[in-house]
């Protein structure tokens, strides 16, 4: 009951809040949804203590779900260390966001609906992380997709919001397609979708092949890459990342919950969860490393040039997710999970802080119209500093431990791709520090660029919005220090138990602790230079950025336009699809199905009907004639020989 409650309390909260929203009982809706999630968080703490610290794995049965032929999927909740970590992250951040939303959304009439969606999302995410088999995981996976769609498009009267919601959904479908194929491949291979059954003898499938249209491919590689495609969609990795910046159309608490701490990390979670399979797929690991490292540097370059405060943070998220993936790619899953956890705290903090700024500036999101407000919003300002320090990886903040661990692991892997990842990661670290301080300086310092009227309204957010920042800030400061030994240090093996599997030959985690000193120092140096660079560019010489931008010309445009990914996709996929769809619609649907179907039939019926009305002249001899014709036709039918 205890474990089920963690998962189902948010669902109950969502249902109740949804019902209350029908009757406009906003405060009741807020009360149930917030308390559902907060209780779930408190229970999660106990679960964490029992499962992760105590080293127990709990499998809790809920119901038999699908039982069809040889396919069997029971509805079971699995609580191991991996799940317990995610539980803390999900329910913790979700609780803060729920409380924050009460303040942030209090002007909105539909706040009850918003709270219901938030709780629904939390439930789906919990289903995802507690899944005991792939089908159940997929249920949660799609559940968060739906909830994310609803939340991004929450202000559905805004054209851009529902376009963004649709885009998120469609892009995720691409990834989901890979994920589904991956699940099917695993079922074909092992005959089961349950984790225990799949992982029991993965090693024996090492040489198995999947033959597809005459080509034989190593089965585990195929499975791993398919699963990773799914993860790429959810975690906005290079190629499938385009939805994440657009998703900032949703209310800011949504960005903090979904697009920083929870949903986008589902891909990382999936890769760690499937480590017993992926470990046997060296090519897939390399692919993951390369994609992750490319994403890290790509998103960081784009983040430098954006002016929407939330988009900067969104690209930063994208970049940090890249770090987590290349950590997983070099078999440093614990490092990936460690960064996932610390990142959840400081990124949620940054988003909520940004939300506070936006709130203070009367819904202004453009950095060019901000500035000079740091004295008026001291709490927010402090929080943004804490978040940025943690993000940039300054010593003793959370990001320092986790990001450095990742870079050291990449270096320690001693492989080609590992080194590529290491150098790209270091470059991204420099850029990260740069854009973080660019954001801080542009948003808070310098001359106010907002209108006088907006400036007169600038005010610190209410307590209900600033208080939830405090636990997140504490996390951003201390999570790295507190979690280091457990997640990636000496207690690592005992802590993770069986939930993460690393081949003994993959020694990146171990080697990470024995890297040269310069490797340890380099990220700090780079971060400091990034900060200094931002200081010079935006405080000392404010004309410099524009000069550089114009000097670089095409390159700057390339970055500013997000490497033209959207335009590229528009050309390659969207327009042909629209053209093809339009053709199908005109020729296929209207031209064929409608023409001969509904429209054609109704026209035919209309013609027939008016013909009949004409025949019905009212003259008896016409009627008699019709009867005689009828007899004659029937007779000639027989005489012409058809009737025999």
């Amino acid at each position: 009951m205890f474990y089920q409650a963690i998962v189902f309390l948010p669902l109950l909260g969502a249902i109740a809040a949804g019902l209350f929203s029908l009757r406009q009982q906003n405060s009741a809706a807020i009360a149930v949804s917030v308390s559902g999630v907060v209780i779930s968080f408190i229970l999660s703490l106990f679960a964490f203590a029992h499962v992760a610290m105590g080293g127990n794995t709990e499998i809790v049965s809920v119901a038999r779900w699908i039982n069809s032929g040889t396919f069997e999927a029971n509805w079971q909740l699995r609580f191991d260390t991996l799940t317990a970590v995610m539980l803390i992250v999900v329910t913790g951040v979700s609780s803060c966001v729920h409380i924050y939303s009460v303040g942030y959304m209090h002007h909105d009439k539909a706040i009850a609906r918003f709270m219901a969606y938030l709780s629904l999302f939390t439930f789906a995410m919990l289903m995802l992380v507690t899944a005991d088999n792939l089908v159940q995981l997929f249920f949660g996976w799609e559940g968060v997709g739906v909830a994310s769609y609803l939340l991004i498009g929450f202000w559905y009267h805004k054209e851009s919001a529902h376009t963004a919601a649709m885009k998120a959904f469609v892009v995720n479908r691409v990834g989901d397609f890979g994920f589904v194929l991956g699940i099917l491949a695993i079922f074909t291979l092992t005959g089961s979708v349950s984790f225990d059954a799949i992982f029991a003898d993965t090693a024996s499938y090492q040489n198995a092949v999947i033959t597809f249209s005459g080509i034989s491919l190593p089965a585990l590689e195929v499975v791993s890459i398919l699963l990773f495609i799914g993860a790429m969609g959810k975690s906005a990795q290079l190629g499938l990342h385009t939805w994440l910046p657009d998703a900032m159309e949703g209310p800011t608490p949504v960005s903090a919950l979904i697009h920083a701490a929870t949903m986008v990390t589902a891909g990382v979670f999936l890769v760690c969860r499937m480590s017993p399979i992926i470990e046997y797929a060296p090519i897939a690991l390399d692919v993951i490393t390369i994609v992750g490292a490319s994403t890290a540097i790509f998103a960081a370059t784009v983040g430098m040039t954006q002016f929407d405060i939330k988009r900067v943070i969104a690209y930063s998220t994208c970049s940090q997710l890249g770090y987590m993936f290349f950590a997983a790619g070099v078999s440093a899953y614990p490092a990936a999970m460690f960064h996932l956890t610390t990142h959840a705290f400081f990124k949620a903090l940054l988003f909520l802080g940004a939300g506070s700024v936006i709130h203070a500036l009367s819904d202004e999101q453009d950095l060019r119209n901000m500035g000079g407000i740091w004295r008026k919003v001291p709490v927010t300002y402090t929080m943004m500093w804490v978040g940025s320090l943690a993000l940039a990886g300054f010593p003793f903040f959370a990001g320092f431990y986790s990001k450095d661990m990742i870079l050291e692991a990449a270096y320690g892997a001693h492989t080609g791709v590992g080194m590529i990842a290491f150098w790209l990661g270091c470059a991204a670290a420099l850029l990260t520090a740069f854009y973080s301080w660019r954001l801080l300086i542009l948003a808070f310092h310098g001359q106010p660029r907002a209108s006088a009227e907006v400036m007169s309204h600038v005010h610190e957010s209410p307590n209900v919005m600033t208080l939830p920042l405090i636990p997140l800030a504490l996390g951003a400061i201390f999570a790295g220090w507190a979690g280091y030994e457990l997640f990636v240090g000496h207690d690592m093996a005992a802590f993770w138990g069986d939930s993460i599997f690393i081949l003994p030959s993959h020694t990146a985690m171990e080697a990470a602790h024995h890297v040269p000193l310069w490797v340890k120092l380099l990220p700090i140096v780079l971060a400091t230079s990034g900060v200094l660079g931002a200081y010079i560019a935006y405080v000392k010489m404010p004309h410099l950025p524009a000069k550089i931008a114009s000097a670089c010309g095409g390159f700057y445009d390339f970055l500013f336009n997000k490497w033209y990914f959207d335009e590229l996709y528009d050309r390659i996929f969207v327009r042909p699809a629209v053209l093809f769809g339009g053709w199908l619609w005109r020729r296929g649907d209207k031209g064929t199905i409608d023409y001969f179907g509904p429209d054609g039939l109704s026209a035919l019926v209309g013609r027939l009907s008016s013909r009949l009305v004409h025949i019905q002249t009212g003259y008896v001899y016409h009627y008699a004639f019709a009867m005689m014709i009828g007899v004659v036709v029937l007779l000639s039918w027989y005489f012409s020989g058809f009737g025999r």
Partner: protein, 483 residues
């Protein structure tokens, strides 16, 4: 001829109604002389005929089971005949009950009920006919009173026109039927159904088939199957509404049963031949009925086309030539009687400032002014369109199932397509009632008997699916006499 106990009990319903008719002739004759007492005698005649139908219905239960042949093999009863007689009597009871004493339109005369009674006697004899002679005699006994009641509204040109048309075309169809009967007699040497059947055991000669085509054409006129349907819309529209109700509900049952009798017992050995005629009639009727109704503005005219389509569906079951098909026809006709009673139960409450109105557009906004009436009409229309779980759905379902199982898939496909087209004009009425406003609402106050009929028939339509299991088994067992 010997009147044994069995004779009396087997023909008891007919005996009761004929005796009653003789009494009513006298009452009607004397009522004429004392005009002042006219209304009282109408009431008396109407009550008597209702009681007569009721008594005849009860008398059906005294008919012994199994096949009984009486009166020099002119008259036969079996389970199917008994069931259909019951259906006819129920329909006749509804039709007469619907007519209030003050209806007007020329039906407020004692003779009206007398003539209807005579027609019902004709129908009962029709379904029992076991010989071409008795068939013709019963058919004419049914038809002649109906010609008269169609023209009963002497003040209306339309009514007279309807009566005359019906009479002329009816005479033509009788001619076809008689010509066919004489050919059949000539080639088989007998007018008795069993004798005809045994003469056909070796297959049919050309003359026999010509005779059969003529005979079936004459019968098709009675059930208004296309292309012998042309009289239907004009007569339905022109005749006084209570007469239309009678036409719509009762004679179709008798005609369909007669058709079953003739095809299964007289021509039971040449199923392949008559099947083709019935398929042709069925397809033509379904198409004409469905498409013809769309353009209509008059609700009686629309229901005329609707009944043509219904006959097409029932014929599809009959055309299957299997016991499954025959039982489907039994189910179909059962639902048909109740749907017809309910539809006319609504139509006959349609009055504006005391005058009956019959335009489809007069139903606009009915849901606002008469919610219960509109709900009843909605149920009837949905049922006629074949929407589950209403009675009309099951009728169509069994018919099409039988057609498919007999390999007549194109017929079933046409049936489904025409049902879709048909749904258009049934749903149009619902749309009018529920989604359009009217500036001149209809009068309040349905009569007591109207309300009762609506409760009974709509209740039947709604609750039909509880009884469909029993009814379908029963239908299979009563048609087993032919297979």
């Amino acid at each position: 001829m010997e009147f044994s106990q069995i004779t009396i009990s087997a023909a008891l319903p007919e005996f009761i109604l004929i005796s009653l008719a003789l009494v009513m002739v006298l009452i009607a004759a004397f009522a004429k002389q004392t005009e002042t007492d006219g209304e009282g005698s109408i009431k008396l005649v109407r009550t008597l005929s209702l009681l007569g139908y009721f008594a005849a219905f009860l008398a059906l239960f005294s008919v012994p089971d199994g096949r009984i042949v009486l009166f020099n093999e002119l008259f036969a009863v079996n389970d199917l005949v008994i069931y259909m007689k019951g259906l006819i009597l129920v329909g006749a009871f509804f039709a007469s009950w619907l007519v209030s004493e003050q209806w007007g339109e020329g039906v407020d005369r004692p003779e009206f009920h007398l003539l209807v009674l005579m027609a019902v006697i004709g129908m009962l004899l029709m379904v029992s006919a076991n010989n071409l002679i008795s068939l013709y005699m019963a058919l004419e006994l049914q038809s002649l009173p109906l010609y008269v009641v169609a023209a009963m509204r002497t003040s209306s040109l339309k009514s007279s026109e309807a009566g005359l048309k019906y009479f002329l075309l009816g005479a033509l169809s009788s001619g076809l039927l008689l010509y066919g009967a004489s050919l059949v007699y000539g080639f088989s040497g007998s007018t008795n159904f069993e004798a005809i059947a045994s003469s056909l055991s070796g297959g049919a000669s050309v003359g026999m088939i010509v005779g059969m085509v003529f005979l079936l054409s004459g019968l098709a006129f009675k059930i208004s199957a296309a292309p012998f349907h042309m009289w239907t819309p004009d007569v339905y529209e022109g005749a006084p509404t209570p007469v239309t109700a009678l036409f719509a509900i009762v004679p179709k049952v008798a005609g369909m049963t007669l058709l079953m009798n003739v095809t299964y017992s007289a021509f039971g050995n040449i199923t392949d031949q008559w099947m083709q005629i019935l398929i042709a009639l069925s397809v033509a009727s379904m198409i004409v009925g469905a498409t013809g109704a769309i353009m209509q503005q008059n609700i009686k005219r629309m229901l005329a086309y609707s009944s043509i389509a219904h006959m097409g569906y029932a014929l599809a079951g009959l055309a299957a030539g299997t016991s499954e098909g025959a039982s489907a026809v039994v189910i179909y006709m059962t639902t048909y009687v109740f749907m017809g009673a309910a539809a006319f139960g609504v139509i006959m409450t349609m009055r504006r400032e005391g005058t009956p109105v019959e335009k489809i557009s007069d139903l606009a906004g009915l849901s606002a002014s008469h919610p219960l009436l509109a709900a009843a009409m909605m149920v009837v229309m949905f049922s006629m369109a074949g929407i589950p779980p209403l009675a009309g759905f099951f009728g169509k379902w069994y018919v099409f199932l039988a057609a498919v199982n007999a390999g007549l898939i194109p017929l079933a496909v046409i049936g489904v397509l025409t049902s879709v087209i048909g749904a258009f004009y049934y749903l149009r009425i619902i749309r009018l009632m529920y989604f359009e406003d009217s500036d001149a609402p209809l009068d309040d106050g349905a009569s007591h008997q109207n309300r009762m009929i609506l409760i009974i028939s709509v209740g039947f339509i709604l609750l039909f699916f509880f009884g469909i299991g029993t009814l379908s088994q029963e239908a299979v067992s009563i048609v087993s006499v032919y297979f």
